[in-house]
Symmetry: C2
Subunit: 244 residues, 2 copies
């Protein structure tokens, strides 16, 4: 009897197609906001049926990496204003009101990665990083003290001026100026008491309970690109989470 071939690295066709599509996204063949080729075109390019391409795109769409628009095409997802608020800024007013969101840049400095940051961002300890501090204001009241650390190597164009220009929409800045799109994030939440410096900046008494949100964001291919620490006043806001 013929021995069935063993495929130690077997992967379904549609997974392989998905990887190829991800490669094209990484290489910048299609940039955020742009349409990717139609399902039929991709099927022809890869020599598979339209249904197989469709299943690969299904997964990318489920991960919010691409967006389908019936009758028009499939587009590389972008961080629109709404999306960022919905997906990456989960703090909402407890009374349900919609608020004016504003931000105030405190500093933007070049420095070196600590051992911990280097580990998280998968860079060498002591590598050059950009260290940003800012306040986020809801309805003109300071609510979040944010600290953002980026590897300089990948974020050359990031300066205080650029950040002001983008009005603090960091993800849109990364995307439109650097072609870096964050597709995934991990967060660790704890409750802490405000230290003296934070208390002053947020206009609180030291020791006031704050929600601490530590976030690492990843781009295509699970590459960590940004570390963030947000200290949030939650007397009138809450972090919303939902899961199935």
């Amino acid at each position: 009897m013929i021995q069935p071939l063993v495929h130690p690295s077997f992967q379904p066709l549609y997974q392989q197609i998905k990887s190829l599509l991800t490669q094209s996204l990484i290489s910048g063949e299609w940039t955020p906001g742009e349409a990717i080729p139609s399902e039929m075109e991709l099927a022809a390019r890869f020599g598979v049926s339209q249904g197989t391409v469709r299943k690969a795109i299904d997964e990318l769409a489920a991960e919010n990496i691409v967006v389908r628009r019936q009758g028009k095409g499939t587009y590389v997802a972008t961080h629109s204003e709404d999306m960022v608020k919905l997906r990456f800024l989960r703090l909402v007013a407890s009374d349900g009101s919609r608020e004016l969101l504003d931000n105030k840049l405190l500093s933007c400095e070049r420095t070196k990665a600590t051992a911990n940051i280097a580990r998280i961002l998968q860079i060498k300890a002591g590598s050059a990083v950009i260290d940003i501090k800012r306040l986020l204001l809801f309805s003109n009241k300071p609510v979040i003290l944010d600290r953002i650390i980026l590897p300089s190597a990948s974020f050359k164009g990031v300066t205080a001026e650029r950040i002001e220009e983008f009005n603090g929409s960091m993800y849109r800045l990364y995307e439109t100026q650097l072609g870096i799109r964050m597709v995934r994030a991990e967060e660790k939440l704890t409750a802490i008491g405000a230290d003296a410096e934070t208390a002053v900046l947020l206009g609180l008494k030291p020791g006031t309970p704050l929600l601490s949100i530590e976030r690492t964001s990843y781009t295509y291919g699970d590459k960590p690109m940004e570390w963030r620490l947000g200290l949030c006043l939650t007397d009138q806001h809450h972090y919303f989470n939902q899961f199935e």
Copy 2:
């Protein structure tokens, strides 16, 4: 020219199949842990192709309502120990260690729903509810003070004895004793200072920052069935969240 029919309530076939399957789950035709009929059988029952049934089941599987096992069949999902920890108890040790999880029931009383609880659980204000208080201990140290409120009408069998019997695994109790399975939850997180009573129970100084997790859990068909408030000490633990 013939006018195309307008279908104001148009739904894809697979969505209709999904609804029918959900109805069968609600009615208890298949209970947690049990296998549902095969894709071919369901296709025959509903008079559609196997591929259409498959797409309906795909969505239920994505929502963790059923679980596929290749070569065996498709099963109604259950709250196994691991799952509950992974999906509904997102507090993990900051140093990554695995810990002994234990709990201590403080009280289990019959009372009446406040206006707020009634609104959240979609019952009449003043309806009978069960009010449970307990401590969750990690490695024998109290970390979470939990309060759970359930509508009595649906949770008749829940008593202090039963809870002890299930060693505090509430979701397993609901599922195995009452056939109620939670499929979705919403949480609101804030940071607060411990009040006097909480401080005593958790062995802290009043005012210690605590992570407050308010959760509403839903069963099939988006019906709210449980409200919970957990006050968590996060000096050695954190709430983990991940999103795409």
